[in-house]
Amino acid sequence: MLVEYSSLITLIALTAILAFSFYAVLIAGQLSLAQLGLASLAAFTSSLVVPDEPLFGFIPPLAVGIVFGMCVGILAAFILGLPVIRLRGVFLAIATLAFGEMVRIFLINQTWTNGAQGLGFPKLVGIEVAWIALIVVAYWFWRLSGSRMGRAFAAIREDELAATTMGINVARYRMASFVIAGAVAGLYGVLLAYFSRFADPNEFSFTAAVDGLVTAVVGGVTLFVGPLLGSVFLSVLPELQRLLGINAGWIRPTISGVLLLVVILFLPGGLSGLIPRRKSAKRLVANPALRPDLPALPAPGTELVSLQGIGKSYGGVHAVRSVDLSVQAGEVLGLIGPNGAGKTTLVNMVTGLTPPSTGTGVVLGAALTAGTKAHRLAQSGVARTFQQIKLFNRLSALENVLVGGYRITHDTLLRRLLFLPSARRFEREAVAMASAQLIRVGLGDKAANAAGDLSYGDQRRLEIARALASHPSLLVLDEPAAGMNHVEAGRLSELIRSLAADGIAVLVIEHNVRMMLATCDRIMVLNFGEVIASGKPADIARDPKVLEAYLGSAGNDADVEAASVLAAENLAEVAVELAREHEQGPDAVIGDDAEPNGAAEPEDKR
């Protein structure tokens, strides 16, 4: 019985390995069709080095082939990656497709590959080798999926820009996924050649690449068993039809096509979507004892951001011109101004997303230049939220925050591969820190919900929690109160004050003037890219230029004036109150179980 299906079972394993090679890039949100080209490079070049006899008398020839093939895959993927890694989506797919075809044509035109006549290989791979290889590969991806590296891939897949601002070096991780995929592709090429005893370059064509992609997608990329499921489904289908006595010929591909269509239309997330998953990969860990000690934040008053004459122009349009800005640890600096005044451009410069055109600046010790990388700044302690919410929508709320903790958590992949106890400990620490942030913003009960399913206001809060998870020295909030009503905005204001009290410097853009007046230590007003006013909230609220440009003096001068006076008075009260709280130490903000951010000193509770 086994004999009859030994090839089928072996091929299931091999096809699954190929699908894993696609899986490796898909989990990082990339589509590469070069896998078959890499596989054929590995297969054919391995024929040049694999010895007939065990090497040094004990290394089996296949081991030489596998190691060599994987190295070829890695090397070729790396060299290919250098130019193409910056391409995205379909452009990457087409460029890699072109590469795959170029490899095929190259190999066909070589004499050592015997061209289209193909090359014979000794039979070294059987059912055992194939499945052992598959299990090793699957094990790797299983351990990868819960590691920090796995989370970084998921974050890149969901939103590259947001991932960058978490401190993730997107280019390096994309290359890593590319290279891992190359290694797996090389493994596949060698195994296939030494299983089927023959290979010609045409077997590694575009069609084969599409087959591999179909296998990976049908299986699903949300779970590491996806490629195996896809491979079983697609490999067994023809066999099953044969057993059912369906005549060979056009009927079989028709049925296969219909079934494939049904699977893809009715099973979002592929076959692995059928496997029930736990509500969330991780549960909230609310025990503060599990949280590790974090390095202290800069002392209050330390200058963290210092910009002189910074400006940005887009093809002659000055979005920001010659702005001086200084932010100190422990203060809340507000940035207000009409829509389109350049506020977001300014904070993009501060967070390294946009290089300044003119001026100089230092953020957390790093100079802002054209070469400043956002992930570098994030690594040194800058965190931010976005005006257009950029969450990792398909990840749970907790997972989002876990990615946010990238900067202060350990990479656990190697430890996880070896099942070291420290892997577990590090993971628990990371979850504990993330949980604390989630609870702090009031989303403790929604930890397992997918970020994309949260309401608008909750998404805003989650973004803040994610930013806080990196234990930042400087937090940049871009319209955090948008979509919140007055009561919610009030709570947000309290949260921001408590962050400042912890020693974080907060730079906030917001149109909710009442909230800004109540929250900020200083406010800067931008209009047409220039600072038109700067100073204490009470002064800003009375500044005629600000009234004119921003608060609106057009129709109801009296009303606005009254409102701003009222706001200023409010502020005075709030300020007094806050000053009092400052002296008392940081304050628990939301809910009874909320904890301040990584506070080292014991805290007073109300």
Binding site: I336, G337, P338, N339, G340, Q387, D453, L454, S455, Y456, G457, D458, E479, A482, G483, M484, N485, H486, V487, E488, A489, G490, H511, V513, A549, Y550, L551, G552, A554, G555, N556, V560, L566, N570
Partner: protein
């Protein structure tokens, strides 16, 4: 008040197993400005989307001008005069301002040009920028474009979802004055707003939503004075 132009009865909206809206019923009188206020996730946007045919309700009956429109697709409703200005503006950034406006008049072939001219009159800034890509406009201008685009569809009832979100106070003033103006021309307006104080001040009638259910309703000025409403949504002064 005259007959309701819009009536919603027993509306329930589900996302998967989550009940976003539970047994919500309300009426909008012809020519009135009605506002739905409530916290985040209370289901305001879900109600609007169900009314404009963008999502299918689980239960409930929606009537527009006496006709049952519960199962009508969005495009049919727009043609019939029920138009939404969506949350987040949803302008088409790669299309020009003029193209965005003409999309508003998808079902208004004959009157399109006249409508566009009228809108340009009302919003001269859009006329100035008619050849620019809409993505190049500032946030306030985009919101005006979004409203103007809806007006070109000749709405009998206009559903506005968070029109003041992310806008400078001065622009918010302008948005509200535009809403007043629209209403003064006889168009019925349903307004969903986070800025509950502002919305209630402008509205005739208000409904307060909490986790998918209507908890308070009444003439807007009464709600503005209601202690509970103040505490939950308006904040203390």
């Amino acid at each position: 008040m005259s007959d309701p132009i819009l009536s919603v009865e027993g509306l329930q909206v589900n996302y998967g197993r989550v009940e976003a809206v539970r047994n919500v019923s309300f009426e909008v009188a012809t020519g009135a400005l009605v506002t739905l206020v409530g916290a985040n996730g209370a289901g305001k946007t879900s109600i609007l989307n169900a009314v404009s045919g963008l999502i299918r309700p689980r239960h409930g009956v929606i009537k527009f001008k006496g006709q049952d429109i519960t199962k009508w697709p969005a495009h049919r409703l727009v043609k019939a005069g029920l138009v939404q200005v969506p949350e987040g503006r949803e302008i088409l950034g790669t299309l020009t301002v003029a193209e965005n406006l003409s999309l508003g008049g998808w079902h208004r072939g004959s009157t399109l040009n006249a409508n566009v001219a009228r809108v340009y009159d009302r919003f001269p800034v859009l006329f100035e920028r008619r050849r620019l890509h809409a993505g190049a406009l500032s946030g306030g201008e985009q919101q005006m474009l979004s409203i103007a685009r809806a007006l070109i569809a000749e709405p009998e009832i206009l559903l506005l979802d968070e029109p003041s979100m992310g806008l400078a106070p001065k622009i918010v003033d302008e948005v509200f004055s535009v809403i007043e103006e629209i209403r003064s021309t006889g168009t019925t307006v349903v307004l969903v707003e986070q800025n509950a104080r502002r919305a209630l001040a402008a509205a005739d009638f208000g409904y307060v939503l909490e986790t998918g259910e209507i908890t308070h309703s009444g003439p807007a000025h009464e709600l503005l004075a209601d202690e509970k409403v103040i505490e939950a949504y308006l904040g203390l002064d």
